[in-house]
């Protein structure tokens, strides 16, 4: 990377979407600075200026120009620094990768949130939906090691960051992904061995503590 390229990530340590972007940056061997946003305290002027519509992290500033929405950021990173390529080479493969990235974004985090935000019957229903989603994703992976096939690829990057919150769902939902979706659990462990993932994988216990605090704020306890 040329030395005059500047990358700044507006970040929140616990955000699985920030983790996703960090993994993508690591896969490309890119250096970057981070600015930790205190989203529960007050949002920085830079964040509000860079992402006026949503005021959310992560935001990637490339030479001062902001790219927002984590999946959008990963697409941008893959296109701007094409080697090694995360998306498949062929157009049909790209469309499949985009489809599953879109499915993951529409379903996984919200289903997981329904688990830690609810109790009783609602919680049981949320748990069932979450496991159904993981099973669909297992189907998409098939017999391959990764969603990208033999290689860790775009969909793997999009999804693996979200798994930093799965321990939270397991604790509040009273289930184990290893038991319900062993193939999925095996994929998580396989990905965690990669440098890019291992270096950026937020400690699940710390995430669990953070969500405990969120639950109190949401009045769930």
């Amino acid at each position: 990377m040329p030395t005059d390229e500047q990358l700044l990530l507006l970040d929140l340590w616990v955000s699985p979407f920030s983790t996703r972007v960090k993994i993508a940056l690591a896969e490309k061997g890119l250096s970057y600075e981070t600015q930790e946003e205190d989203v529960l305290g007050g949002k920085s002027d830079l964040l509000l200026k860079s992402n006026p519509l949503y005021a959310k992290v992560p935001v990637l500033l490339h030479n001062g120009k902001p790219v927002v929405e984590s999946t959008n950021i990963v697409y941008y990173i893959d296109e701007t620094w094409p080697s090694p390529q995360l998306l498949p080479a062929c157009s049909y493969g790209k469309s499949r990768a985009r489809f599953w990235a879109d499915f993951i974004d529409k379903k996984v985090f919200d289903a997981g949130s329904s688990i830690w935000k609810t109790k009783g019957e609602e919680l049981e229903a949320a748990k069932k939906e979450f496991i159904d989603i993981l099973k669909k994703l297992e189907g998409a992976m098939g017999d391959k090691d990764y969603f990208g096939g033999d290689k860790f690829g775009f969909v793997d990057v999009i999804l693996i960051g979200l798994t930093t919150w799965f321990y939270v769902y397991e604790k509040y939902g009273g289930f184990k992904i290893e038991k319900e979706c062993p193939k999925f659990a095996a994929w998580i462990n396989r990905c965690k061995k990669r440098d890019s993932v291992a270096k950026n994988y937020v400690d699940p216990e710390r995430t669990y503590e953070f969500v405990g605090m969120l639950r109190k704020m949401h009045g769930v306890e």
Partner: protein, 221 residues
């Protein structure tokens, strides 16, 4: 590209389906159009889109591509010899994707609050949200003829299909989009001058009649 088989599964009032029709027309492609008689879904649709079971689906030489914006990107990449729909610059592409994603996340749901209102307050809430979204989009458009600048492109294609539903929004919500958002309507008229758009959009008055029919069948009226 002579022996490419293209089949589009669609429901003509769908603002998402019209994205695909416009993209195919812009590229000058021949395709077979198959109308889905919603709410009854054909076995082909269920087989080609088992995850979401929704239209539109483009079937290219037997292989399905689902999710309208993903289909448009696929069309743009495969038939890249004419009428580019997305910008080539990664940063501008990221901006275009962000805008199309904003439309997807916000406009459809807000519009539904108007057309499927249960009471006056619900319709009013939907109307406020839709107008806010339109103002944001007018801001993004600025003084440019199209969202992409001088040329009709991806974001224009993403949004223009919603025009079919404007009459329904206006009648159910009791307001005039022309009065509230004249810049947006000027952009609409500009797009409608394109043959590819004019032949891809259905009659807004018939869309409204369909809304009334569905409202009755769901016991809302």
């Amino acid at each position: 590209m002579g022996n490419d088989e293209l089949i589009l599964l669609n429901f003509w009032p769908s603002m998402f389906g019209s994205r695909v029709k416009i993209a195919l027309e812009e590229k000058g492609l021949d395709y077979e159009y198959r109308e889905e008689e919603l709410p009854n879904k054909s076995p082909l649709l269920l087989r080609m889109n088992p995850v979401h079971k929704k239209v539109p689906v483009l079937i290219h030489n037997g292989k399905p591509i689902c999710e309208s914006n993903i289909i448009v990107q696929y069309i743009d990449e495969v038939w890249n010899d004419k009428a580019p729909l997305l910008p080539s610059d990664p940063y501008e592409k990221a901006q275009a994707r962000f805008c199309a994603d904003y439309i997807d996340k916000k406009l459809y749901e807000a519009g539904k609050k108007i057309t499927w209102y249960k009471n006056k307050e619900g319709a009013e809430e939907g109307k406020k949200e839709v107008l806010e979204i339109f103002k944001v989009l007018e801001g993004a458009l600025g003084d440019k003829p199209y969202f992409g600048g001088e040329n009709f492109g991806y974001v224009d294609i993403s949004l223009i299909g919603f025009y079919m539903w404007f009459h329904a929004y206006e009648t159910c919500g009791n307001f005039s989009i022309e009065v509230e958002c004249p810049k947006l309507m000027a952009w609409v008229k500009r797009c409608l001058e394109r043959k590819t758009v004019a032949k891809s959009l259905g009659d807004p008055k018939i869309v409204y009649e369909i809304v009334l029919k569905f409202r009755k069948s769901w016991g809302l009226d």
